[in-house]
C-alpha cells in the first residue's frame, strides 16, 4: 500500500487554480520531493495532504485513510513541519517539545529526540533566542514527537545560511534512516537532488514531471551544459550549432544543452570566429534538475 495516494487533486483560490488536477503516490520509506518556483502550488498540495485544507476536487489517502473523513486519525500518524511557522517565543525548547508531545497518543523520548536534533545545549533556552537553523531543527523535532510514519517538511531550509542548510540535510538524512517516509518541498533543485529518491516538478498548479533525479536529468538527452556569455550572437545560429540539442537565452547569457561536450565546444568556438561575436565567458558543467526545469518551462526556477 502506498504511504500517500493523491488522485486528481485540485484547489482554486478565486480565479487562481493553485492546484490543478494532480495525481501521484508516495511509497513507504522513500524521500519524495515536490520542487518548483514560489506559487507553483507545492505548499497548498502539502497542506491538503496534511488535512489543513480541504480540496475542491480529488481524493487524498494518507496511510490508507481518506483525509476528508479521517483527518484527525491520520494526524496521529503524521509529523509536520510547516513553512515559516513561528513557535511560541517564550517557551523553552524542552517545554515546546513536551507540549507538542503531549498532544499525541504515541510519543518518543523527548530527551533523546532533542539530542538527536543537536539541540541539547539549547534545551532551556527560550525559542526566541534560537538561531534560524536551531529553530528549523526544533520544527523538525516537533514533526517527530509522535514517532510518525510519514514526515512532511515544507521548505525546511529556506532562509538558512549554507552551513545551517547542510546541518539540516544531515538531520533529514537521520529521519530517513529511521525508516520514515518523508515528503518535502523545496525551491532549491540541488537540495532535491541530494535528498530525494523521487522528485515531482510542479509549475502553475500542475505536476509537469515526476521521476528520480537521475532519470529526470537523463530525460534531457543532454548530460552537459555550456553556459555562454557573449554579445552580438544570433540565437537561431546557436540553435543550429552541431551537437547542441537546445538553447535557452537570457539577455547576453545562453544555456546550451548538449550530449557531446567536445563537439559542441568546437562548434561554438568556430561559430564565434565565423560570425565574429566575442565570447566573454564560457563554462562547462553537468546538467542538473534546474536545467530540467528550464527545459520544461523555459524559465529559471528562481527569478
Amino acid at each position: 500500500m502506498a504511504a500517500i495516494e493523491v488522485v486528481q487533486l485540485s484547489k482554486t483560490y478565486g480565479q487562481v487554480r493553485a492546484v490543478d488536477g494532480i495525481s501521484f503516490s508516495v511509497e513507504p520509506t522513500e524521500v519524495f520531493g515536490l520542487v518548483g518556483p514560489n506559487g507553483a502550488g507545492k505548499t497548498t498540495t502539502l497542506e491538503i495532504i496534511e488535512g489543513l485544507r480541504s480540496p475542491d476536487g480529488g481524493t487524498v489517502l494518507v496511510g490508507g485513510l481518506d483525509m476528508s473523513r479521517h483527518a484527525r486519525e491520520a494526524q496521529e500518524r503524521i509529523g509536520v513541519q510547516l513553512q515559516s511557522t513561528t513557535l511560541l517565543d517564550d517557551l523553552t525548547v524542552l517545554e515546546t517539545v513536551g507540549l507538542f508531545s503531549s498532544l499525541f497518543q504515541r510519543r518518543v523520548d523527548t530527551d533523546s529526540l532533542i539530542k538527536e536534533m543537536a539541540l541539547e545545549d539549547k534545551k532551556s533556552s527560550r525559542v526566541k533566542n534560537l538561531s534560524g537553523g536551531q529553530k528549523q531543527r526544533l520544527a523538525v523535532a516537533l514533526a517527530l514527537v509522535n514517532d510518525p510514519e510519514i514526515v512532511f517538511l515544507d521548505e525546511p531550509t529556506t532562509g538558512l545560511d549554507p552551513q545551517a542548510r547542510r546541518n539540516l540535510w544531515d538531520t533529514i538524512d537521520a529521519v530517513r534512516r529511521r525508516g520514515k517516509t518523508v515528503v518535502l518541498t523545496t525551491h532549491y533543485m540541488e537540495e532535491a537532488e541530494v535528498l530525494c529518491d523521487r522528485v515531482g516538478i510542479m509549475d502553475q498548479g500542475r505536476l509537469i514531471a515526476l521521476d528520480t533525479p537521475r532519470e529526470l536529468v537523463r530525460s534531457l538527452d543532454s548530460g552537459s551544459m555550456l553556459e555562454l556569455e557573449a554579445e552580438g550572437v544570433d540565437a537561431s545560429e546557436l540553435q543550429r550549432v552541431d551537437g547542441v540539442t537546445r538553447v535557452q537565452q537570457e539577455g547576453n547569457e545562453y544555456l546550451l544543452y548538449t550530449q557531446d561536450v567536445q563537439r559542441a565546444l568546437t562548434s561554438v568556438l568556430s561559430l564565434s570566429e565565423s560570425s565574429g561575436f566575442a565570447i566573454k565567458d564560457l563554462r562547462v558543467r553537468s546538467a542538473t534538475l534546474e536545467d530540467v526545469f528550464i527545459a520544461l518551462t523555459g524559465r529559471r526556477l528562481r527569478e
Partner: protein
Amino acid sequence: MRGFGQLVICQIKLLTRNTGYLVGSFGIALISMVVFGSLFGSDSSSQFSMGFVDEDKSPFSQQLAQSLKGSDAFNLMEGDRDSELASLRDGKRRLVMVVGPGFSQDLAQRQATLQVYYDRGNLVAAATANAAVRAIVENLNQAITGTVGPIKVVEEGITAKRLRNIDFLTPGLVGMMIMWANMFVGVGLITWRERGVLKRLGVTPLRPFNLIASQITAHLAFSFLQAALLLALGIAIYGVTIEGSYLLLALTIGMGSLSMLGVGYVIGSFIRNSESANSVSMLVSFPMMFLGGSFFPLDTAPGFFQPLIQALPLTYLNHALRQVVNDGAGIAAVQTDLLVLLGWMVACLIVSTRVFRWQ
C-alpha cells in the same frame, strides 16, 4: 482531554513571562492600591448622598423633595424607610430625611416635624449635611408662611459602618484587575493565528475546543491567583476585611473572569489583526475601568452615562465584589449581578464561535 494539562501549564507559563500582560493586569491594580490607599485610604467614603423617604405623599412633601433635589449640596436618593436607613448604616448615605405620614396636616397646624437621621460616626460630615438641609427647610418655611418656623427638624444619630476609601477601592481594583487580565485573550488567539501557531496545532490531533478550554482555564487560574494576591495585600497593608464568604467571592471572581474572557473573544473574532485587536481591547477596557466604578462610586454620575454604566459587565462585577467583601452579602444579594455576568459570557461565546476564523 489529552494534552490539556500540558496546554494549561504552558499557557500559564506564557502569561507569567509576558511582562506587558503582568504590568497591565496586576501592576496597575497594585500601583492604584498603593497610591490611592496611601493618599486617601483612611478617609471616609466621599459619597454625598442623601436619602429621602416620603411617607406622606402630599403636594407639600413633593415640593420639599423638589427643593432638596434642586440643591447641589447633595444627591437625593428616594426610597422607603427601611432601605434608606439600611443604606445609611452601610455608609452609603450621609443623611436620611423621613417625611412622616400626616406631614401636610401638621404643616397646616404649623407644627410639622421632619425626621433626619445621620451617621454618628461621621459627625463633621453630618454637620455640613445638616446645615445644608436646615438652610433649605428655612427657605421652604419662608415660602410657605412668610414667617419662621412651622417645620421643625428632629435629628437622630445612627451608628453606621465606617467604609473607608480603601475598603471601597480594594474590591473595585480586584474587578479592574480581572478585566485587564482577561480582556486580551482574543488578542492572544489572533497572535497565535498570525504567527502560524494555530495552523501548526491544526495538524495535530488537538481539537480546537480543547485549545480554547485550556486558554480559559489558564486565564481563570491566573485571575484567581492575582485576585488572591491583591486581596491579601489589601488585608495585610490596609486592614481591609472580607465580610462575606470566600466561596461566594471565588464564584464572583470566576464569573467575572468568564464574562471578560467572553468580551475578549468577541473582540478577537471581529478584528482580524492582533495590533488593531490590541488597540480595540484597550479602547474598551480603559473607559470601562472608570465607568465600571472601580475607583469611585457612580450613583452621582450624569444621567446620560447611566445606560452605559448599567450595560458594562465590570459594573456588575464590582457591585457583586463590594457586596461580598464590604457588606458580607449572601448569594441572594449578588445573584442578579452573577446572572448578568453569565449572560455576558454566554452571549459573547455564541457570537465569537460564529464569527471567529481559525485561518
